[in-house]
Symmetry: C2
Subunit: 191 residues, 2 copies
């Protein structure tokens, strides 16, 4: 999608100038209104993340996102994370905990842009305190209370740029930018 990369971006020699970004959402509460976590996942996908690890797992949410990706293109996936610590521990890159208490994003951006892989970690209302220790960086997108959806979107936008309109043929369905009204090319019934 927005990253424009194809195939493995793990090889340092082959990777583009932009990091591959994953998101880890901890403290999701299945059973409560899932819209907030859905919005985190949709924003992660739309702004160019490759995947969102979700703790605790929520298979219904993962399926809804798979349907979005099926229709709108790309290979974004929601990956169940029964143990969030092992995701953080085994991540082969910079682990960036997004928190209003952290260091200003602007100060951390140059280092993050040089990483080959970045994991953005966002919590819900209660963040496990050890996340502050386990993260490579604690980073604030402003030092005011706001939203994990906003934090993920703004960091991705600053790291990868604004997403471009989809190219023809990439997705089953794509939008043709329009000054008024809605123009969509393709549909849901193509094989």
């Amino acid at each position: 999608m927005a990253t424009g990369s194809s195939g493995s971006s793990r090889s340092p020699s082959a990777r583009s100038a932009r990091p591959e970004v994953s998101v880890l959402r901890v403290g999701h509460r299945p059973g409560r209104d899932p819209r907030l976590t859905t919005h985190v996942a949709l924003a992660a996908r739309a702004f160019g993340a490759k995947r969102m690890f979700l703790h605790p797992r929520d298979d219904a949410l993962a399926e809804r996102l798979a349907a979005v990706t099926h229709r709108w293109g790309g290979d974004f996936a929601v990956v169940p994370a029964d143990d969030w610590k092992s995701v953080v521990r085994s991540f082969p890159g910079a682990v960036v905990h997004l928190t209003m208490y952290g260091l200003p994003l602007e100060r951390c951006l140059p280092r993050l842009r040089r990483a080959s892989q970045v994991l953005l970690v966002v919590g819900g209302a209660k963040v496990p305190p050890e996340l502050y220790r386990r993260a490579t960086h604690n980073v604030a997108v402003g030092h005011q209370p706001h939203s994990e959806v906003a934090a993920v979107a703004v960091v991705l936008e600053r790291l990868l740029g604004l997403p471009k309109p989809a190219r023809p043929g990439i997705a089953r369905q794509r939008i043709v930018p329009s000054a008024r009204g809605k123009r969509v090319v393709g549909g849901r019934v193509r094989p």
Copy 2:
């Protein structure tokens, strides 16, 4: 707050290079989980908007945001909008409907930056079709489905820049940016 302006920013001669931004949230559903609209409001405030018009009104939500502003500073307010059309009609500036079907944000940004006042309009699941006609601009923050929280935050960030840490004395409570853990100065009990 992030805009750094004080007093009236309505006077064209006195205004800074940055527009004053308001948000209009239509299609809020009081009674359902209010977190999504709360996140739109918090993101609007944190990224430098002056106010959020809310249709339909939700006094409990407005009070929660007033408490945040009381504690964390600034003069952001949630303004009830019983008639969203009159807000759009009477707005003295550019009305920007954020929709995945619109023109790319990047193309519209130069014009928006020159406006003295900008109203960002975000809908819920069902947007009144006439909004596409009544808006000055229909603008897409990417052409993929994502989130009104993300859209508001990214547009504000592109218009006004990333919010800076609060200066001492501005708010009852402020965060001191920190590489690990939480540092907060001030408290809730000061008069």
